[in-house]
Amino acid sequence: MSNWDILWDERAQFLSGFLSTLEIFGLSIVGAFVIGCGLLYLLEGSRKRLTMPLRIFIDAMRMLPFLILAYLLYYGLPSIGIRLDAWWSGVGALAVYHGCYFAEIFRGNRLTFPPGQIEAAQAHGFTKGKLFFRLLLPQIIMQTRPLLGNQLIYALKDTAFLVIITVSELTAAANSLSSTYFIPTEAFIVVIGFYWAISVAMEIIIKQCGRFSAKRGFDNV
Amino acid sequence: MSEANTSETAAVSIHHLSKSFDDVEVLRDVELEVKTGEVVTIIGSSGSGKSTLLRCINWLEKPDRGSIHIAGQRIGVHEDGRPMPVRELAKVRAQTGMVFQGFNLWPHLNVLHNVTEAPIHVQGKSKREAEELATALLEKVGMSQKHDSYPNTLSGGQKQRVAIARALAMQPEVMLFDEPTSALDPELVGEVLAVIKDLSAEGYTMVMVTHEMAFARAVSDQVVFLEKGLIIERADPETFFTTPKTDRVRKFLENHDTPSSA
């Protein structure tokens, strides 16, 4: 029986690892997106007393390795009485960490907005919330699409760190198979293929969104 | 026989030069002779092949047919048709100095080093020797206050004067100018033309493409009119600007406010 046959027989394990990674990834990027938008909203026209600590928090996150944050949630939080299991620590860390990156991407784009548009909307009686959700956010998201796409790929890759805090996901599946049957090369080639496929699929989706938004005229603001 | 003879005495001699860009003939059988100390101006409408002619002279553009000699030395190919190795080509090229419409200063080097770069790394001059030469040349073009400035801090006119100093630093046999003032704001054109005029007075050999008719008339020894890659008229500036032989040139001069008094 060749090594590849062994892998085929164990396809269920790969599949569950793959689905687990997708689940973690999907949940955490939704969380990250919400956090990113929330941070942008708080940064938008708030008092300096609030924006300063937020900016410091975002910059601090961007200067930390993801795994340190995961460690902090998984190993560190119990010391102050908060106990999360590995899976939730991982998802939480991913969401917060990449949420900060999203916020920074949004903020960078927000700086390039001409003030005229906002003033015109205010003159028409838009409230702050309406202005933000109806006017600013959709434009910012459309314009930062390529950067967001890049960040999604980083987030996908960061899910693999969770194997270190014992979450069972795709890389963990390869690791356990390779130690059970001593077929590391084949096992990891398959898993790397999975990651590659997801990345390529995401890139294609981002490009398709680009076409859509070009049609809607979002790009030439 | 006579061809070889003239090649030795002239700064630039061009024979039967032809060049096409994918099926479009840009230069057609061009003959041009530039004697040492002479200033030749090339005039013509846009797309007539002026830049291409100039760029063939230092082989930035490779001609299809014909020969070009710089101070008697063939450029680009050997007399027997063998292609010239890059090192040798570079040596012949060093005999020409080129000034571009867009200046093309090297932005990572300051003014002084823009000028010393080629003398040091092509001619193998010592740093001190190159800097002395550069200092003198920058003085000549009126840029001695700006040794340490980087190109992005200079005005267009200043950039072009540094570019002229850079080309002069190789002590070339002939200076090639491709519309040196076309990219400049009108109020900066004068300072660059003044430098070029000084050079002509000092006896530098120059081939120049320009749209500044008054200037061409004042400094040229020979004016050449290029039309669709053909030289259709050549004369001394007086004759060229006062009594052009062809209708084409007369029309051209009417459209460019001809200098009645230069």
Binding site: M63, Y195 | M98
Partner: protein, 213 residues
């Protein structure tokens, strides 16, 4: 935290720094070499390099490190942990650096090298004196940014048993039963390292602006 804990943390930091530094040094040069090879557009080689870049950019460092470390014996290689870690980081960062160098090549204007050739420089001298220095200056901000990413990804090598600045916090808390302090200190040390790189990147950007004429 006692003195020995501090000592261990600093050792972990040193491991992170030296392994990252070696990978960065190799990765910057290898990226340039790949960019140059891709300029030549050699059939098959070019496609292979495109494939490598695409796969390397999509592969998590943890997965790559495990792959290299575990399957090296299969390929008849005897890699120790540090070499496997360096190899993983290098394979990853090289792919990104190659793209940074390539975009510097693409944006390099032909007029710049024409001006050099016109003064009599040979193509080699033109490359060395005019092209390369400008490309280094324009690429440096991107390269330094990629260095920060490498440091942030470096804890991945813990998975093959290297005791780096992240992993060492496990070792310390196994003795002290207090995981929070070492993790926080490690975080601060990472911020210090990456803070230096961010500062370097600012300098590099200011320098690069000079080229934007």
């Amino acid at each position: 935290m006692n003195a020995s804990a501090w000592h261990m943390l600093l050792e972990g930091a040193w491991t992170t720094v030296w392994i990252s530094a070696v990978s960065i040094a190799i990765g910057v040069v290898a990226g340039l070499v790949i960019a140059l090879i891709r300029l030549a557009r050699i059939p098959i080689v070019d496609q292979l390099l495109v494939l490598y870049t695409s796969v390397a950019r999509a592969t998590p460092l943890v997965t790559l490190a495990l792959f290299i470390f575990l399957s090296a014996p299969d390929l008849g290689l005897d890699l120790n942990r540090s070499v496997a870690g360096i190899l993983a980081l290098t394979l990853n960062t090289t792919a990104f650096n190659a793209e940074i160098w390539r975009s510097a090549f693409r944006n390099f204007s032909r007029e710049q090298s024409e001006a050099a050739m016109a003064t009599g420089m040979t193509p080699w001298v033109t490359f060395r004196r005019i092209m390369l220095p400008q490309m280094v200056i324009t690429s440096l901000p991107g390269l330094v940014n990629e260095m920060s990413f490498l440091i942030k990804g470096s804890p991945a090598i813990a998975v093959i048993g290297i005791v780096d600045l992240t992993r060492v916090t496990n070792r310390i808390s196994a003795v002290t039963y207090e995981p929070l302090p070492p993790i926080l200190v490690a975080g601060v040390l990472y911020m210090a390292i990456i803070g230096c790189l961010v500062w370097l990147q600012r300098l590099a950007e200011r320098r690069a602006n000079r080229l934007a004429m």
